[in-house]
């Protein structure tokens, strides 16, 4: 299962990078969203997908049977932060489109006479 997951994660990353390299602001934001999904899965898979029991202490379950709690803790933090970043991006895109009238990254290069 881990091997299939690794390939899927690679695919997610690939799609994310491809989107981020495009000119349209929307596609870039969608790309960052995909990137964080990929990263979460990567964290989960790197720790191993074994463990028959969720990491909640209960009677009759031996320690080795719990799923690895550490990646889960990290991902939990990451989900919230990626949400914060995504919403920030969204508002940024919305406002810059409102002010500048374009979402084409090639036109958002700053002024020509900067030094």
């Amino acid at each position: 299962m881990e091997i299939i997951m690794s390939v899927a994660i690679g695919f997610l990353f690939m799609a994310a990078v491809y989107l981020m390299l495009s000119k349209s602001l929307i596609r870039i934001i969608i790309g960052t969203g995909l990137l964080s999904h990929g990263a979460h899965l990567l964290l989960l898979t790197m720790g191993g997908l074994g463990g028959n029991s969720p990491p909640v202490v209960s009677h009759g379950v031996s320690v080795s049977d719990y799923a690895d709690p550490l990646p889960q803790a990290l991902i939990l933090t990451a989900i919230v932060i990626s949400f914060a970043v995504t919403s920030f991006f969204l508002v940024l895109a919305y406002r810059s489109y409102q002010e500048l009238g374009t979402d084409n990254m090639n036109l958002l290069r700053g002024t020509e006479d900067y030094e």
């Binding site: 299962m1 881990e2 091997i3 997951m5 690794s6 390939v7 899927a8 994660i9 690679g10 997610l12 690939m14 799609a15 990078v17 491809y18 989107l19 390299l21 495009s22 000119k23 349209s24 929307i26 596609r27 969203g33 995909l34 979460h40 990567l42 898979t45 790197m46 720790g47 191993g48 074994g50 029991s53 990491p55 909640v56 202490v57 209960s58 320690v63 719990y66 799923a67 709690p69 550490l70 889960q72 803790a73 991902i75 933090t77 919230v80 932060i81 949400f83 995504t86 919403s87 508002v91 940024l92 919305y94 406002r95 002010e99 979402d103 084409n104 990254m105 090639n106 958002l108 290069r109």
Partner: protein, 804 residues
């Protein structure tokens, strides 16, 4: 007494200068500043009895003990001589500046703060025994010199000169730091005193030659030796008191000090002797030759300073010969070291007075252009007298101090022809010849300076203001120095015993045990020797050439400006400026895409490279979780929706597909037994999709028409690279564990230690509470950012109109 702290006294005083300038505006700030060098001078004079007999004093103050860095003030004959010059000339210059700089028009607080900063730096250089602190003070002089040259910062020439001096001296300083580091590696210590006894072992070390050359870079740039001298003429944009102080009497002598101080370490090497003597002598000739081309009074003095520094430098180099001769006290080789120090004192005295006269002429006539000046003799009699004394001393005429040291210079250069090491016996004849030529030109420019300013025809129409004698206060310092010039001629042996010989002892500690052993008696008259005839020749030829100066001075214009060293410097500055600009414009395109491509390519390159180099790529097929039916179904949904995003043309489809990816991931969390994650993911994903829809309502449709095929292919290539890299990393990290996971610890202690059952939650709030805290901080920052962006209105309508 811990006199190491006295080094910092000027810096401490500098703190009060702005306050005094603002609050006590009636009294010229210089009067308060004057106290500092006077106090220091009188204290250091009291140390003279110790050094006269070859004694020394040490005072330490630990700065960074863990790095073995300390301020160590070491006072012996050499450092005390320089200390007295710095404080003594410093006092006279401050006094002079009080009348030179107007208290109402000038920004005195800046000026005196820089000047005091410089004083501390200079005292630090000459007293530091520790190489690193020496370097620190060395750069501090460059900085304060930069600030002082750029004092009238509204003038272009001032800023240009300031930058030029900074670039060149700091370049040399960095080289010198390299030399110091090599020295400390070789000798295992930063202390100069501890390095000197190791000199005989150091010379055979591999780094020795490197250290030697690097240290000389520092000394040559600071002391304006060829080809680095070009900063000094441009430094003349500084106020004249600064030129008199920094750029003739003290700072430019820091290089000489360094050479003298390190002579015991390096003199054993023939390279040292050749380099220091050769460069010095050539600089002496070059400077004196081009001094005659100058039209600016201070320009003449600048080139003359370059020339005189070269003279002293060559003498310091020649003094190294003493290390290769037995019974030096019986030979003529002993003169070089003595002459170097003696001329250094003479030069500080007469050049200081000459600069002050140049300043007075500038101040009272409004110009320094020698073509407009002339006939000031009767209008400014006192200045004229001082100028004559200073210039005649520079030319080497009796009865002035310069005559004595010039004679000894010739003696020392003649003695080199008899030196039979390092192939000096073949090429040595060049030294007295070049020295003689340089002296002839020195004679001419000294006369040029005085008589083209004060003699000849007075041209009142060309002067910006009517010339008159300077106020008495401004004349005090130059007159005092001029008196010294005469006094030195009559008591040379007193100066020799008190100041020169103790300093020579520091330069040649292996040769003498005490200053009394240096058997040199200075005499104005020592018979019909070759030196005497050389001097006569200098006077005769020099006078003839001065008389005909107007006829041949024009030939200087034949030297093309385009291939001068100044042009080289300008071109280098221009090229590095525009070159760097052009270079960075190649990759700084301004397109986000380019930067992302660089970043992702680097990630791929570095990660794959590391995997490959360390043989880290392993796949272990044991211990894998089984493949289940639900997982495969979700996976298909995930991949399918990702494809939909990639190829969708409508923004709505894209958003919904992104939502689908998010929900499939939530399902994965369910299957892989992560209930907390699944819940969070579901909530967040729902909010995200809502937010996306809200924002996208205002955003334009996804358009793909403009993207060119070449770009899309490149993007795909980078994307595939990243994808493959991540897959490989995931597989490798899965298959090998370098160390046991900390998760086991959490699982075992979570109930005992933290009293909680949900391990993930306990980790977040107990074990890794800071993570959560910062997570909240990130949320807060994002929230503030969003509010700001919504409130922010970049262009105001009124502003636009004003700009148009």
């Amino acid at each position: 007494m811990s006199f190491v702290f006295l080094i910092f006294l000027p810096l401490l005083a500098a703190l009060f200068v702005p306050l005094l300038f603002k609050k006590v505006g009636k009294i010229h700030t210089g009067w308060f500043v004057l106290i500092v060098p006077v106090v220091l001078f009188s204290y250091y004079v009291s140390l003279l009895p110790t050094t006269i007999h070859g004694g020394n004093l040490v005072s330490e103050f630990q700065w960074i003990p863990s790095l073995d860095i300390a301020f160590i003030a070491y006072i012996d004959g050499l450092s005390l001589l320089f200390t007295l010059l710095i404080t003594g000339i410093g006092a006279l210059v401050v006094l002079y500046s009080i009348f030179y700089l107007d208290k109402h028009r000038e920004q005195l607080h800046n000026f005196y703060v820089y000047l005091l900063m410089f004083m501390t730096a200079m005292l630090g250089i000459v007293q530091s025994d520790h190489l690193i602190t020496l370097y620190l003070f060395w750069e501090l002089t460059s900085i304060s010199s930069f600030l002082l040259i750029g004092y009238w910062y509204t003038r272009d020439r001032s800023r240009f000169g300031a930058l030029k001096s900074m670039m060149i001296t700091v370049f040399g300083g960095l080289m010198m730091l390299g030399g110091f580091v090599l020295l400390s590696i070789m000798g295992g210590t930063y202390s100069i005193r501890e390095l000197i006894p190791q000199a005989t072992e150091l010379v055979s070390h591999d780094f020795f030659l490197w250290a030697l050359v690097l240290v000389l870079f520092g000394a040559f740039t600071k002391s304006a030796q060829f080809p680095f001298y070009i900063w000094l003429p441009d430094a003349m944009e500084a106020p004249t008191p600064v030129s008199a102080y920094l750029h003739s009497a003290t700072m430019v002598k820091a290089g000489l000090y360094l050479v003298a101080r390190l002579t015991p370490i390096f003199a054993i090497s023939g390279t040292w002797m050749w380099l220091v003597t050769g460069v010095g002598l050539f600089t002496m000739f070059w400077g004196s030759f081009f001094a005659l081309k100058q039209k600016d009074l201070k320009g003449i003095l600048a080139f003359s300073t370059v020339s005189q520094l070269g003279l002293i430098m060559s003498l310091l180099g020649a003094s190294a010969a003493g290390y290769h001769i037995d019974n030096i006290a019986e030979t003529t080789f002993k003169y070089a070291g003595f002459a170097a120090i003696f001329h250094l004192i003479n030069h500080a005295v007469f050049k200081g007075s000459l600069f002050m006269i140049a300043g007075i002429v500038d101040h009272e006539t409004g110009t320094r252009d020698i073509r407009k000046l002339g006939g000031l003799m009767s209008l400014m009699p006192i200045s004229f007298t001082v100028a004559v004394i200073g210039a005649f001393s520079m030319a080497g005429l009796p009865p002035f101090g310069g005559f004595l040291s010039k004679e000894m210079f010739l003696t020392a250069m003649l003695s080199l022809t008899e030196f039979d090491l390092f192939s000096m016996d073949v090429w040595g004849i060049l030294f007295p010849v070049v020295a003689w030529l340089g002296s002839v030109f020195t004679f001419i420019y000294s006369f040029y300076f005085v008589f083209h300013t004060f003699a000849g025809e007075h041209k009142p129409d060309e002067l910006p203001k009517p010339a008159h004698e300077a106020p008495i206060g401004m004349l005090v310092s130059p007159v005092f120095l001029a008196l010294l010039v005469v006094v030195i001629f009559f008591i040379p042996n007193l100066i020799g015993d008190w100041l020169v010989k103790p300093a020579v002892l520091a330069m040649q500690p292996f040769l003498y045990d005490s200053p009394e052993e240096i058997k040199i008696h200075v005499e104005a008259w020592h018979g019909f020797k070759l030196e005497f005839f050389m001097t006569l020749g200098i006077f005769a030829i020099g006078f003839l050439m001065f008389w005909t100066l107007r006829k041949w001075q024009k030939s200087y214009d034949l030297f093309p400006d385009a291939i001068s060293l100044n042009a080289l410097y300008d071109n280098m500055m221009f090229l590095s400026d525009t070159g760097a600009n052009r270079f960075s414009r190649i990759y700084m395109t301004g397109f986000i895409r380019s930067y992302l491509v660089y970043m992702f390519s680097f990630v791929v390159f570095i990660v794959l490279g590391t995997l490959f180099l360390t043989d880290a790529f392993v796949i272990d097929f044991t211990n894998l979780a089984p493949i289940g039916f639900y997982e495969v179904v979700i996976l298909i949904a995930l991949v399918g929706s990702t494809f939909t995003i990639l190829f969708s043309k409508s923004r709505l489809t894209g958003i919904i597909a992104l939502g689908a990816v998010g929900y499939s991931i939530a399902l994965f969390f369910v299957i892989f037994r992560a209930p907390d994650l699944a819940l969070t993911q579901l909530v967040i994903e729902t909010i995200s999709v809502a937010l996306f829809l809200l924002a996208f309502y205002h955003l334009p449709q996804i358009s793909r028409k403009e993207e060119r095929m070449r770009f899309r292919f490149g993007n795909a290539l980078v994307a595939i690279g990243v994808g493959v890299t991540v897959t490989l990393v995931a597989l490798s990290s899965l298959s090998q564990k370098a160390m046991p996971s900390i998760s086991e610890f959490y699982k075992e202690t979570v109930y005992k230690e933290a009293g909680g059952g949900n391990i993930v939650n306990v980790i977040l709030v107990d074990y890794r509470g800071f993570d959560t805290l910062f997570e909240i901080a990130v949320l807060g920052i994002a929230g503030i950012g969003i509010i700001t962006m919504i409130k922010l209105r970049l262009t105001k309508k009124e502003d636009q109109h004003e700009n148009k």
